[in-house]
Amino acid sequence: DAGITQSPRHKVTETGTPVTLRCHQTENHRYMYWYRQDPGHGLRLIHYSYGVKDTDKGEVSDGYSVSRSKTEDFLLTLESATSSQTSVYFCAIKDDRSLGEQFFGPGTRLTVL
């Protein structure tokens, strides 16, 4: 158990509404990541963080923003949800000392109607 939780685990929302997903870790790791998983695309990086208030864009960042005000929390916000953002969202963490292994949370299934 890598000590990662995600909330909510499931959410249904309507187009145009704001949505915030939370990732919480108990490991005190510097690196945190948000991915989305879609059929035929695998896991794609949305945003990542390398410290408190230090974040950067991944390959599919349009329509998403993130914030990290505490080491343990990494928030992903959809300012105005669209149907194309229906997906399963995973948060991951990485130990500073590891070469590349990331450990994933259980995921959030988001449906935008």
Binding site: Y31, G42, S98, G100
Partner: protein
């Protein structure tokens, strides 16, 4: 542009036989490779990794092979068990940059599309 590709969407294998999952990459700047396993309704779990300075890494029933000249890696599972039925993702890490402070790639990974492995009893 898909830099990491798993060209087989699915693979079906009989219990006890070998499962071979393949992954190809295009970026020669990748220097560390990983395999993840994912069950339905769960997050991916790390399985095994290999550095680009090696060509083989073994962990129990799982072996990863790396062919750098072909930009190809494979995961062998021997013997396969029904509990191995899952989606398998390969992933690759870019060599850390030396031009930025700390010489880090921030641990970012690029994933393939995944292969669904089904092991029949």
């Amino acid at each position: 542009d898909q830099q990491v590709k798993q060209n087989s969407p699915s693979l079906s294998v009989q219990e006890g036989r070998i499962s071979i999952l393949n992954c190809d990459y295009t970026n020669s700047m990748f220097d560390y490779f990983l395999w993840y396993k994912k069950y339905p309704a769960e997050g991916p779990t790390f399985l095994i990794s290999i550095s680009s300075i090696k060509d083989k890494n073994e962990d129990g029933r799982f072996t990863v092979f790396l062919n750098k000249s072909a930009k190809h890696l494979s995961l062998h599972i021997v013997p396969s068990q029904p509990g191995d039925s899952a989606v398998y993702f390969c992933a690759a890490r870019l060599r850390p940059l030396t031009s930025n402070a700390g010489g880090t790639s921030y641990g970012k990974l690029t994933f393939g599309q995944g292969t669904i492995l089904t092991v029949h009893p």
